[in-house]
Symmetry: C2
Subunit: 373 residues, 2 copies
């Protein structure tokens, strides 16, 4: 290795150390921001501040002759870390009453995540699990909100078994279908009811920018504090009709999980050489294989329940199977013209998203490549 190169590398290392020290200072300031926001009840995610700040730094990067995308990526990564620091400082409590938060299924991963967030916001959180449900009447009698977050096939049963709730107590659930649980909750409780569906896994570092769907049940003015509380945590709350929600979930969950499941079963039954497939993977294929493989690290029962949750799901999957067969026929006949016709129809259906997804995936693949050993 030449002296010239070593000297340059030493200089680069010195710069990197200075960057590290600036980052340390930045995170200390962010902790102070978190304290101010917590006191004043300001949501941790502030889209306008982000946009303004990024625009300024991008402009400065351009003036300095360096890539604006580079500085944006680095600042976005720093902001992710900042949300974690801000998160730890706690949140303003929106509910002004005395009641506690009761989480049924509070020992599950999602239950624990929300238990932590409510506790960080100054609430008294109580949890109920299968072994403690006999104490439900006692635990629930002073509740401000009862949250049901249990496996999909047990949700309605558990709602039906609930003891009577205080009149103004909010009853809600986190199940990934909404029509049936919402009906069960409205039947059970005469007070405020709202169906929620957090659109993320329990492993998120915080709720900044994460989507939570909510379906109106009854007395929205009385559950508004709960929605506001989740906004303070940084979540993006979207209202939707329960039926429409469930129809979308047949695609997003049942059909998608089933196809990943079938794809995995096929690879295994073909005795494909996994190590070699991975060695030969383009970044795109590695990502696709990752999306399949990750399913199988999870709980099979959960996925069985999600896929078999409704007749609509099964019918949707059957229609997919039928179309799949028609397309197999098409390629078996080497009908290139018809293939291209079909392809172009789907392109039209995807509209501007086809191009957008190309760009978005390119950005992601670059990050994936950065992390390649």
């Amino acid at each position: 290795m030449s002296k010239e190169l070593l000297a340059l590398r030493d200089k680069i290392d010195e710069i990197d150390k200075s960057i590290l020290s600036l980052i340390t200072k930045r995170l200390a300031l962010v902790t102070e921001v978190g304290e101010v926001k917590s006191k004043q009840g300001i949501p941790i995610y502030d889209p306008k501040r982000e946009t303004d700040m990024l625009a300024k730094r991008r402009q400065e990067a351009e003036n300095a002759g360096i890539s604006p995308a580079l500085i944006e990526d680095i600042l976005r990564r720093l902001m992710r870390e900042s949300y974690i620091s801000e998160n730890d400082k706690g949140f303003k409590k929106i509910y002004t009453g005395q009641g506690s938060i009761v989480i049924i299924g509070g020992n599950g991963q999602m239950g624990r995540l929300f238990s932590r967030l409510f506790t960080l916001s100054g609430y008294n959180v109580k949890t109920l699990g299968s072994k403690t449900m006999h104490q439900a009447a006692e635990v629930i009698k002073d509740a401000a909100a009862v949250i049901v977050t249990v496996p999909i096939n047990k949700t309605c049963e558990i709602i039906n078994q609930l003891p009577p709730l205080p009149k103004d107590c909010v009853l809600t659930d986190f199940t990934s279908i909404k029509v049936k649980p919402l009906k069960a909750m409205l039947d059970k409780h005469q007070g405020p009811v709202v169906g929620l569906h957090p659109m993320f896994g329990p492993d998120v570092p915080n709720l900044a920018k994460q989507i939570i769907v909510y379906c109106e049940g009854r007395e929205p003015d009385k559950y508004q504090w709960l929605i506001e509380q989740m906004r303070i945590w940084g979540a993006n709350l979207c209202s939707i009709d329960a039926k429409q929600h469930d129809k979308c979930m047949s695609f997003i969950q049942a059909l998608r999980h089933f196809t990943s499941f079938a794809y995995g079963v096929n690879l295994q039954q073909e005795h494909a050489d996994l190590e070699q497939l991975i060695a030969l993977s383009s970044p795109i294929y590695r990502l696709e294989l990752m999306m399949v493989g990750r399913l199988f690290a999870q709980d099979p029962e959960l996925y069985a329940d999600i896929i078999m949750a409704s007749d609509d799901n099964i019918e949707l999957i059957k229609r997919y199977y039928k179309r799949f067969g028609q397309l197999v026929e098409l390629i078996a006949q080497r009908d290139k013209t018809k293939f291209i016709e079909n392809f172009n129809e789907v392109r039209t259906w995807f509209g501007r998203y086809a191009q957008r997804f190309i760009k978005e995936s390119q950005v992601l693949l670059k990050f994936a490549n950065d992390n390649r050993e």
Copy 2:
């Protein structure tokens, strides 16, 4: 907005500006590194330097009480930018003779990428396209290497039509199948032959860490300079048997592209509400939808040719269809036990990769979330 918060934000902005200025200095140093490497013929990607440097900065981050992952992510992003700067400074030319590089299909995207890299390395590059093929004999007569990079279904035909090549000229191709083109090249030319398959799209910013597969043809000592040249560009060259390569590609390309195609056709024929699906997407589903949607922004003819390239591909897809049908039957009968049994077999097949893919996808999803508006 409180004065307290504004004052903190001003301080953060000052720090960000200082970071920007350090990055500018770093990139200037990297340009100098690029010049030294180019002079001395050192590959732009140096895994040991990366590993050592990251380990030191991670340790320093831990000592400073901040997340090692944060500093690693930022340094990796800076290194990506560095490869681009180093790339622009040119590369050492490995071939010591006078001959030129002839790229057939040189006006395609992949042809242009390699044309640029060879030119940056001091080679004289000539391209041939469908309109200039009649000049092939003249253009090729002093070639050091002839590279065929044309659509998959034209590769063998074009190889067969080549005029005689100089005795020591390397004949190679970039097609995504290898058995047939390799045979065609060996039949055509009595000198050095090697089959190549770059495992990335033509839109990569540079070749750092990108995989190029090569399948031995004839006289490896005479095409070694070409392999070495690609290593200098930062690529990771992997040798594999042509038959094994093609078998893997049936999975990686034909089967995967076909399933994405079928999934897209189904969404369109179901008249699914795309805007709503996207609004309700979890980060994972958005990524999965992205992988499907991006296909349809590309050339249908290319995908038709890849999928229908061999009878083996069609047979593989037919077997998948059959298994898919059996699994549909299983869920129609709500056979949860059998579902879980199948699931666990696939989990075993994925082995350590199931967990690894979960972790890897979590990292990627965090980057995706950073970029969410």
